[in-house]
Amino acid sequence: MPTRAVLAAFMARPADEHYGLEVSEAAGLAPGSIYPILIRLEQYGWLESRWEDIDKHAEGRPPRRYYRLSEKGAQDVPLALTRANERRRPGSASLRPQGGLM
């Protein structure tokens, strides 16, 4: 679920770049909790990242790392999200209350 929330946050604005805190806010996850997900998605080739281009002395803070959907991600993620949602259609086996078994 957190991975899906992160992907949905990127898909909401697929052309935009986001830093970690923005992603966690958009996904509704705790700040600092999304890095294992970002690492996996970047390794999988769905995300790409770059350092923010600022003068850290003028800005008074270090540069941030910005993430965005890669071309591969923009193609694959919508399909993957659809498949994931289909797997969780009503009536399918689930241990969650909304799944109907408990």
């Binding site: 830093y19 600092g32 690492i39 390794q43 803070r61 540069p63 941030r64």
Partner: protein, 223 residues
Amino acid sequence: MSLEVVAIVVIACLIASIAPRAGERLRSGEGAPGRPAGGKVRDAGIFLCSSDCADGLASVGVATREMRLDLDSPGPEFVRALNEMLPGANALKKRVWDLQDELWERLGRPPTAQEVVASFEGDPLLEPMLKPSHGVSGGAVFAPRVESTPIFSRADRTVERRLSLAALFLPAANRERYRREWQGEAAGMPSAAAAQFALNLLIRAPRSGLALRLRRIFGRAAT
């Protein structure tokens, strides 16, 4: 793999026990700047450069005696005035910041003010500032002050300690990138939020490390 995990935990415990002691040499002060370029040390660069720029000061009517008084009780107005009077001051200030950043990367922790001043030695631009000039010795005036100069508040040291610990769970080749990334994120937050952010990072650091190691071990993306 299990031996590696044990080694990481042991190293983490060692650092946790050492880091606070190193920080305690600095007095924790309210409102103390907590980022790599601490304000006190930034100012110090200006104070030091001022001792070697007495000619410039004299030309605008500032006597050495007045300068000495200002050095004893420096204030933001004095720093601002020096910035305006001395065209080279900004270049020197930038060099001090760069030195701090280099030290941070080399030491793997925030440098103390004393370490920053010590690093002036051997630097062609900054070393002359430590030598006596026109009766005022920058180093002599500055050295006693830095011993009690707070650079990092207690909250900032907590964040830094947690980030450093979290980075230990990552493969060595990836640590610097993610430590810098996390510092960049934490720098934009209030202290309490940054501490919580760093705690969340620390809790999930083993998982981050595993994701990176799976890639290295199996040579494929960890999914």
